[in-house]
């Protein structure tokens, strides 16, 4: 059972924490104070907040370390969920431990060992192929957190690489990562991706069964495989971000929780693999894109384009953090696709206005990006930048080529970008038609409202071509 009582219990712990006045601190991911000491406040609300905080920060660490002992994914999940519930009670009576992650891991591992002793048949449920620890090429994991009675190895990378194994379908990789690495419930994941809960539960169960039956090893890939496998992991994190950034349907343009989870994951990967340039690039890209989050929609929910956004409201801290990561991600060989996208986002973030953006440099970065990542979506973005560097006609010519190519036939931003260039050229009828084509391809309400507004705008004013006839 992938949707046992455990997730509900975990949610109960988190809900309790959310209701507490002190829960705000859990909302800022990755800003872990040095030593992450928390007050030993005996009050229940403090301990509930600490449990919620530990759920956010430590879930992956605790589950990854417990999976090694349990040798079974489902058993590990149940034990970790039980440990969080136990913490809710224990921490309110005894105070929050100095190292919540170690406390939880110890509790979860004890439960796993007890369960294995009690019922040997559990071992055969979803057995996990745990390989002994080995040094990871190109990375230096941080020193394991000091445990209360033993040293706990940091197995989070094993967990991430297992969830994102290429033998699993992309949608399963995404679901498993949210479930096992981020600790989301199946209900929450189903809601985030707008699929029925039963569908998501089946997807998670099927993926776990494949890990077990096909014997996908619980390990970090060796140096030879690492670049490809890491790209798969980064793609999953980026997909989580973009899904949250532009929710595929519904009223809200941004689904904050997915976005924050993606940034959390990127921070975690950066901490675990500090030497990997693409990890650095991905974190920079997410920070720089997310810095604009508050300005992407007007008060009435209307979508605001980059050109219209209030740059004074961009998150300068996130921008500074993102920009600081970019040089290191570009240096030391051919830059990867995340580093190059981060470099483009950095140029946007640094520009005082849309008009004063260094569009020519952006076009050059898109050229480099196309060389390492020949994607029609990249080509479309390049066309938009080219239109700003050299005029709408130049961009339009590129877009026509992409239309002939056909791979973006269902991609709403192709007709939307084309419409915008046509509008700027005063070709209003063609622009309205293209905006309509884009509208037919999106179910996001904010995007539909934006496109509808643009259609009214280009239709509302007299078409210069018709005015004379």
């Amino acid at each position: 059972m992938s949707t046992g009582p455990g997730p509900d219990a975990t949610r109960k712990a988190r809900d309790a924490a959310r209701e507490s006045p002190d829960a705000g601190g859990a909302g800022r991911p990755g800003r872990r104070p040095a030593g992450h000491d928390r007050g030993r406040g005996p009050a229940g609300s403090d301990s509930a907040a600490a449990v919620a905080d530990a759920h956010r920060r430590e879930w992956a660490f605790v589950l990854a370390a417990t999976a090694r002992v349990a040798g079974d994914i489902d058993l590990a999940e149940e034990c970790v969920q039980d440990a969080y519930v136990a913490a809710l009670d224990a921490w309110s009576r005894q105070g929050v431990p100095r190292n919540p992650g170690a406390w939880l891991t110890t509790a979860a591992r004890r439960r796993a060992i007890d369960a294995l002793r009690r019922d040997r048949t559990l071992r055969g449920k979803l057995p996990l192929l745990v390989e002994p620890s080995q040094p990871v090429a190109g990375s230096s994991p941080p020193a394991p957190a000091p445990g209360e009675d033993d040293v706990i190895p940091d197995d989070r990378l094993r967990l991430v690489f297992t969830c994102c194994h290429p033998a699993l379908a992309r949608e399963a990789q995404v679901a498993l990562t949210l479930r096992l690495v981020c600790g989301l419930t199946t209900t929450e994941i189903a809601q985030a991706f707008l699929v029925p809960e039963a569908t998501m539960a089946a997807r998670v169960t099927r993926a776990k069964k494949k890990i077990s039956a096909a014997r996908i090893a619980y390990r970090v890939p060796g140096a030879a495989e690492l670049p490809d496998r890491l790209d798969g992991v980064l793609t999953v994190v980026h997909l989580l971000y973009t899904t949250g950034h532009t929710a595929p349907a519904g009223e809200n343009l941004v689904r904050d929780d997915l976005v924050e989870r993606a940034v959390d994951l990127a921070r975690m990967l950066r901490a675990l693999m500090p030497d990997e340039r693409e990890v650095r690039g991905l974190l920079a890209l997410l920070l720089l894109t997310d810095a604009r989050r508050a300005t992407r929609a007007a008060a009435d929910g209307r979508l605001l384009l980059l050109a219209e956004q209030d740059r004074s409201r961009w998150d300068r801290d996130a921008i500074a953090e993102g920009i600081a990561l970019v040089p290191g991600s570009l240096r030391g060989g051919l830059p990867g696709r995340f580093a190059l996208q981060a470099a483009i986002a950095a140029l946007h973030a640094e520009a005082p206005s849309y008009a004063e953006t260094d569009w020519r440099q952006i076009v050059r970065l898109y050229d480099a990006l196309l060389a390492v990542w020949p994607s029609p979506v990249v080509a479309l973005n390049r066309a938009v930048a080219l239109a700003l560097a050299e005029g709408p006609e130049a961009g339009l010519a590129q877009i026509r080529e992409l239309e002939r190519d056909g791979r973006l036939a269902d991609y709403r931003y192709l007709p939307a970008a084309k419409a915008d260039l046509l509008r700027r050229l005063g070709r209003r009828d063609e622009a309205a038609q293209a905006y309509g084509a884009a509208m037919a391809l999106t179910e996001n309400d904010a995007e539909r409202a934006f496109l509808g507004g643009r259609i009214a705008e280009v239709r509302g004013q007299p078409d210069p071509g018709r005015a004379t006839s």
Binding site: G124, H165, A167, A214, R215, I216, A217
Partner: protein
């Protein structure tokens, strides 16, 4: 070590129209594959090529019909049963398996020992 079945799916026309040279190359490729599996510390338990689907007979219930179970452009043409440490190891081996007119599918063998 766990066992995996590598199923070789290929377009049968590829072989129907192949020259003796191509057949020779395919035979050599399979000989080389057997060596490579050993070099990769895997083991071929067994392996065979199958006669084309035109020779197949299908039975559903007690109805016997001429032809393969499912008509597909690429049909099962052969297999290897291998031993490998885990899926990554099996995939590493399967990537070397010759299938010039198609591809291969890797399936874990179900462990019924209850261990």
């Amino acid at each position: 070590m766990p066992e995996y079945l590598i199923l070789i799916y290929e377009d049968e026309n590829g072989y129907a129209n192949a020259s003796p040279d191509v057949f020779q190359q395919v035979m050599e490729a399979h000989t080389r594959f057997a060596q490579q599996v050993e070099e990769k510390s895997g083991k071929i338990v067994s392996g065979n090529a199958l006669q084309p689907t035109s020779t197949a007979t299908t039975i559903r219930g007690d109805v016997v019909t001429d032809g393969p179970f499912a008509e597909t452009k690429e049909a099962l043409g052969g297999y290897y049963l291998i031993q490998a440490r885990d899926l990554d190891h099996a995939l590493d081996i399967a990537k070397l398996c010759p299938a010039r007119f198609g591809g291969v599918e890797v399936r874990p063998i179900m462990d019924l020992s209850g261990g």
